[in-house]
């Protein structure tokens, strides 16, 4: 099943309850089975799904009041909602930058996922809060990559480091981060080329960049339109570098971003921000509750978001 269909699957299963005359344990079981199937096919971890199913059932059956079928459906919906929120909130926290020292973030992800743009937004976010912020370009592959960062940097009035004559991303990473560490920068953002697990050399390169950069956090940037391949790619990135948090981009489109579930499951890293447009201020703090609302088709997440 394609991830975005998750919401409609869940709602479809729940609407069956509305039409059922009696809601007994068997009816609840059958709905939960359907929902679990939908989650499993969304590449959500088997153990997580089983756990979720037990939790929901416990919560729903605990209620001894013989509620009508409509309220039972509502109750299950709420339970599913809570469980999905829990799923999107792994126990680990994202790295919190420390004032007065160099905090280095390394951005990684598939081609075109939105790394360079997210770096500009992220830089803007911290710079506006008064942190001394800079960006480093280690993308020596994509045509015009340095110009892209340079033009963003000029618009934002934030310093950047890059060298059009240097073809080795590892050297650039080393020089760039050293330069800004020495200059007392607090937020240093390292941009890397897009890559995918099928090309082993690209992953090796990423590991080498990481070794010289020694980032405080590796951020995996994920496009919300991505389908079934996301789980494979996200786990491959996690295996290669210690992904500490996730940014989901392009949520201003139609995609519900169901793949986020798989990314979190695969990386066990929290989502920190979402991208909602191409402009530098179009990035919002991730909020699991409004995200799940959108995923389940319970209304748009905008308006719920903390800016």
């Amino acid at each position: 099943m394609v991830l975005q269909e998750l919401g409609s699957k869940i709602n479809g299963a729940l609407s069956k309850l509305n039409t059922a005359s009696v809601v007994d344990e068997a009816a609840v079981d059958s709905v939960l089975k359907e929902i679990a199937g939908a989650l499993l096919m969304s590449d959500v971890n088997v153990r997580t799904v089983a756990e979720m199913r037990t939790n929901i059932k416990r919560e729903v059956m605990q209620d001894s009041i013989r509620a009508g079928s409509t309220s039972k459906a509502k109750q299950i919906r709420n339970a599913v909602f809570n469980e999905l929120v829990r799923l999107l909130s792994p126990d680990v926290d994202a790295y919190r930058p420390v004032k007065g020292k160099a905090n280095v973030f390394m951005f990684v992800g598939l081609q075109g996922s939105g790394k360079t743009t997210s770096i500009a937004k992220f830089a803007n976010y911290w710079a506006r809060k008064g942190w001394k912020t800079a960006m480093v370009c280690c993308d020596t592959f994509r045509a015009g990559a340095l110009d892209q960062m340079k033009q963003n940097a000029i618009k934002l009035r934030i310093p950047y480091f890059g060298n059009p004559l240097e073809a080795d991303p590892v050297k650039l990473a080393e020089e760039g981060t050293k330069h800004f560490r020495d200059e007392g920068y607090e937020i240093i953002l390292v941009d890397t080329s897009g890559r995918h697990q099928q090309e082993a050399e690209l992953f090796e390169e990423m590991e080498q960049v990481m070794d010289v950069v020694e980032p405080d956090e590796v951020i995996f940037v994920m496009d919300s339109t991505i389908g079934q391949a996301v789980a494979d790619q996200a786990s491959a990135f996690k295996k290669s570098v210690p992904v500490g948090s996730v940014i989901i981009t392009k949520l201003d489109g139609h995609a519900k971003g169901g793949g986020a579930l798989s990314a979190v499951a695969a990386t066990n890293a929290p989502i920190t921000f979402i991208g909602t447009g191409e402009h530098f201020d179009e990035m919002e703090r991730f909020d699991a509750r409004s995200f799940v609302s959108r995923l389940m088709g319970l209304g748009d997440m905008r308006g719920f978001m903390e800016k």
């Binding site: 099943m1 394609v2 991830l3 975005q4 598939l110 960062m149 033009q151 995918h196 139609h254």
Partner: protein, 303 residues
């Protein structure tokens, strides 16, 4: 169990439902949309119900596989085929440049695909010009300039924040004046539901009246890929001021090298839109462009 199924008794729905359901799950796990998978399996059911299995060795699941293979092949067979090289040569014979506009959502690979098509046409002896109409995204113009330098072809540009439609029109004019055979027009990425941006794209397409309007989509995308195509096509119709709007002619599907065996996106897209896949992108080099290999996709899906 197999004895009974492989015998001369005609296949019933009950015999078929389990293997077909398994097949449907497999297709969906490989990024075929639920709707497409369901319809394909429906076709398989219709094909096999009531049939007798010939040889003893041919089990039900084999029959399902074979039938499914046929259904998939049928789906992927282009209803219209587009031969870019032949069309471009025909335009050249008429003494006018052949124009292609590349459209699509952000980051799918429009500019890269444009550079690959340039490489392909140039190697086939055509004089190609690039036209930088992404006047919004940082670095977009320099990106095309790098390709222009690498490939040894001219690029037309008029700087950032310019009206993209006018840049395109002027670019085509310059191509005519300088005796170019092909103009490849790059556009800014945009989300399918961004109305102002979709309107300005419609304007660009209406003004340039390209010979070919291709939408670039990623093989990585899930259901959203279909949504992108449907909404771009609809916008080109709805926002057009003419009675015969210029709409999408076909697609380029990129990033096939990044999806492993999850190649089902091609099936969902063709199923939902009926648009032909003109090229597929299989990497980040100029040579990584191919015609769609339907056999290979079906083989990967059913392996």
């Amino acid at each position: 169990f197999f004895q009974r199924l492989t015998g001369q008794k005609p296949l019933t729905r009950e015999d078929l439902s389990l293997p077909i359901e398994t097949m449907q799950k497999q297709l969906q796990a490989q990024n075929v949309s639920a709707v497409a998978a369901r319809e394909i399996c429906e076709a398989v059911m219709q094909d096999l119900e009531g049939q007798k299995l010939g040889s003893m060795t041919r089990g039900v699941s084999t029959a399902v596989r074979e039938s499914c293979e046929k259904a998939l092949q049928r789906l992927l067979a282009p209803k219209r085929s587009i031969d870019v090289l032949r069309e471009a040569r025909a335009a050249k014979a008429e003494g006018r440049p052949y124009t292609i506009v590349f459209i699509g959502v952000n980051g799918v690979g429009k500019s890269t695909s444009l550079s690959k098509v340039c490489y392909y046409l140039k190697n086939n002896g055509l004089k190609v010009m690039l036209c930088a109409c992404d006047t919004f995204r940082s670095g977009a113009i320099e990106q095309l300039k790098v390709h222009s330098k690498n490939l040894g072809v001219p690029v037309f540009e008029a700087g950032y924040n310019k009206d993209a439609a006018s840049v395109a029109v002027n670019g085509i004019k310059q191509a005519k004046d300088t005796g170019m055979d092909v103009v490849l027009i790059d556009t800014a990425g945009r989300m399918q539901n961004n109305e102002p941006l979709m309107r300005s794209l419609t304007k660009l397409v209406a003004k340039t009246k390209p010979d070919l309007c291709v939408q670039v989509v990623e093989a990585l995308a899930g259901n959203d890929a279909t949504d992108q195509l449907v909404h771009f096509d609809k916008a080109l119709k709805d926002f057009s001021e003419t009675t015969v709007p210029r709409t999408i002619d076909g697609m380029i599907m990129t990033k096939f090298d990044t999806i492993g065996d999850k190649v089902g996106g091609a099936i969902s897209l063709v199923h939902a839109t009926g648009q032909p896949i003109i090229f597929v992108g299989t990497g980040q080099k100029y040579t990584n462009i191919n015609k769609l290999n339907a056999k290979k996709i079906v083989r990967v899906l059913l392996q």
